[in-house]
């Protein structure tokens, strides 16, 4: 039966640097070598940090940890573009973004080591604490960036979340508020194909997560999340739009979680080695090294140097973590309110006397 067409929509996708390390010359953002090398180095640092964190967990030196391996290219090129005054709202798998944002990585260990002090970022960094309840933190990004807009500042908020998070009601409310109030918010969805054991197809019947933006009247696109350049470009454009007052953007980074969901998980229970292996071939770091080397922006010597530096840096990080003072029992009473209530004072006394 014929009907009128009310509207048509188009969802685009972007990939620039392919798995073989080849750049699409038409799409190449032509970044300075320094920027490329910096992003590469940060991704390498995030990778070794991640491995180390898992090792520390196995040794009982930190608690549960959620590895980022495989998703470094979603996080580093996006977080790195934030500038002073901008806000970052992570979920719980954002070690790479946190490091790229300039937070001392030992703070991450402190947090995952079971001390809230790890979440107390420096006064000049607007890093929100890890948000464990899936999907719940995007609303905070909307609010914080709205505040900046109301004060006519240029600051924006960037928030990370997973494919699973798009199923939560709060995702919907956040996207919808952002659309209505045109807040300068970048919604960066890391579609890593799995929410613990639940595959992407079980999260939604939509063919892409990017198309969910249509429901909110905001731009949405899909990018190769293992492609540092595509993520860089997409985020750059979204940030520019946000700063220009043009509102929010949803970016779906199509990627893969190479490791277990967390150190408590055993991913072999629900997915095949073959699948994992096929994604390892699309490693986001390898392809950058290939590309940089092939284009004379990186050589073996530099690689060796980087490995050495990174290892040394990692040692320092772990050392710094292990020299943090232990949390005090008082901490759990003293930070709840600006002034502890009489009841809390009593309870603290009761416990510590």
């Amino acid at each position: 039966m014929p009907r009128k067409t009310l509207a048509t929509f188009r969802v685009s996708s972007l990939s620039i640097l392919d798995a073989a390390g080849k750049v699409d010359p038409n799409l190449d953002p032509k970044l300075p070598a320094k920027t490329l090398q910096q992003m590469y180095s940060l991704m390498v640092l995030a990778r070794v940090f991640d491995d180390k964190a898992i090792a520390l967990q196995r040794q009982g030196r930190i608690g549960t940890y959620a590895p980022v391996k495989g998703q470094e290219a979603c996080q580093v090129p996006s977080a790195l573009q934030l500038t002073k005054g901008d806000w970052l709202f992570p979920a719980f798998r954002e070690a790479a973004a946190t490091i790229a944002f300039g937070i001392p990585p030992e703070r991450l260990l402190q947090y995952w080591g079971g001390d809230e002090q790890g979440s107390k970022c420096a006064a000049d960094k607007n890093l929100f604490p890890v948000s464990i309840p899936v999907g719940s933190h995007m609303l905070h990004a909307v609010g914080a960036s709205w505040a900046a807009k109301l004060r006519k500042e240029k600051a924006i908020a960037l928030t990370y979340f997973g494919d699973g998070a798009t199923s939560e009601g709060d995702f919907h409310e956040a996207m919808n508020f952002a659309g209505v109030f045109k807040t300068p918010t970048i919604f960066l969805c890391q579609n890593n194909q799995w929410a613990i054991s639940v595959p992407r197809e079980r999260q939604t019947a939509a063919a892409s997560l990017a198309q969910k933006a249509i429901a909110y009247g905001i731009p949405g696109m899909q990018v190769d999340g293992n492609d540092m350049l595509a993520v860089y470009v997409a985020t750059k454009e979204a940030i520019a739009r946000a700063r220009a007052g043009e509102g929010p953007t949803l970016i779906e980074c199509f990627t893969y979680r190479i490791g277990d969901h967390t150190t408590s998980d055993d991913a072999t229970r629900y997915r095949t080695n073959k699948e994992v292996a096929s994604w390892k071939k699309k490693d986001p770091i390898d392809r950058v090294r290939t590309y940089l080397s092939a284009n004379n922006m990186w050589d073996e010597n530099q690689e060796k140097q980087l490995q050495l530096n990174t290892a040394a840096q990692l040692d320092k990080i772990v050392q710094a973590y292990e020299t943090f003072p232990k949390p005090k029992i008082n901490d759990m009473f003293d930070y709840l309110y600006a002034q502890p209530t009489q009841e809390l004072v009593q309870q603290k006394q009761e416990l510590t006397s």
């Binding site: 006064a123 309840p133 905070h140 914080a144 505040a147 908020a157 409310e173 508020f177 709840l336 209530t341």
Partner: protein, 322 residues
């Protein structure tokens, strides 16, 4: 000084604080042009415009979550949840985030925000419009819970709430929004959060209530012809235990009037504290007159559900005669 109703006092507090502090924002459903379904925000949108008085999409979790984001970045949102029953969709944001951000970030961030909620029964409204959900929030760490029972207190407590550096859930007893007027100074004043009000002093028994039930308690005390301390808790979290204990130590008898369902209501906590600090003073069990452990009925049975002066009188008599 003007003679104001409770809701007018709320409105005046909002008006004055928005004028005084440009970071105060009001947001919620129908709070703008419509002035709120109870008219608590009447005139604000006209006075302060679209950016400071914001009609939001119909999404309570969104309202609270976005308010938290506004708060950590320098605003002081006063969010309205249209009715008590519609706090439930925002529950996760309140307990998982609003009440935790200061502690979670070890003081790096905090949430100076107020959530205003018309509260309780007595106006024969539809289902979910007459709830008393205070227990959920008094039990939750990190949030303060305040409820005025007079116009004077409404203004002073609301101003204190907006200026409090921590999140405050501000319940407004809708049954008495317009039930009576009181002299309310036009000047700026606050009433400290965390302090109960001794409505009336007496010797024989302590009657404790909050919100609209303070009036029930007052009526019952008159009807029962007892010489009672009447305590209006005023702040439900943190509780003013000292005022309760001082009174009960003096009177030895106590009746608590609570509109919410009985089990695990705030009255139980008050009893637990009396048990802990004044057991030996008790001459009789502390009595509870409460809503029942069932759903607040639709209008035909609402009056049977709510505590009545008669039920309170009965409890007073039983306690006196124990």
């Amino acid at each position: 000084m003007t003679n104001l109703t409770l809701i007018q006092a709320v409105n005046q507090a909002l008006q004055q604080e928005m004028k005084r502090d440009p970071t105060v924002m009001v947001l919620g459903e129908d709070v703008g042009k419509n002035g709120g379904v109870f008219r608590a925000t009447e005139g604000l949108w006209q006075a302060f415009g679209d950016e400071r008085v914001v009609d939001t999409p119909l999404a309570e979790s969104g309202i609270v979550g976005v308010s938290l984001g506004l708060a950590v970045n320098g605003f002081k949102p006063v969010a309205e949840i249209q009715f008590d029953g519609f706090l439930a969709p925002a529950f996760d944001q309140v307990i998982s985030h609003v009440g935790r951000i200061r502690n979670r970030s070890r003081g790096r961030f905090h949430a100076q925000l107020v959530i205003r909620v018309p509260y309780g029964g007595g106006i024969h409204a539809p289902e979910h419009h007459s709830e008393s959900p205070e227990t959920y929030f008094v039990h939750t760490p990190g949030i303060k819970v305040v409820i005025p029972s007079t116009p004077y207190d409404a203004k002073g407590l609301l101003l204190a709430a907006i200026r409090d550096p921590d999140p405050v859930l501000f319940f407004e007893p809708k049954k008495i929004y317009r039930a009576f007027r009181q002299e309310v100074p036009e000047t700026d004043y606050t009433i400290p959060i965390g302090k109960a009000r001794l409505v009336k002093q007496g010797h024989d028994i302590t009657v404790i209530a909050w919100g609209a039930q303070v009036r029930t308690a007052e009526q019952a005390v008159v009807q029962a012809k007892v010489d009672a301390d009447i305590i209006d808790l005023r702040t439900l979290s943190p509780l003013d235990t000292d005022t309760v204990i001082n009174s009960v130590t003096k009177t030895g008898r106590c009746v608590i009037v609570q509109e919410a369902p009985k089990t695990c209501g705030l009255a139980a906590e008050v009893i637990a504290r009396i048990n802990e600090r004044a057991l030996l003073s008790l001459e009789a069990p502390v009595a509870r007159v409460t809503g029942f452990d069932t759903v607040m009925p639709l209008s035909r049975l609402e009056d049977s559900y709510l505590p009545s002066p008669e039920r309170v009188v009965k409890a007073i008599k039983k306690t006196m005669e124990f």
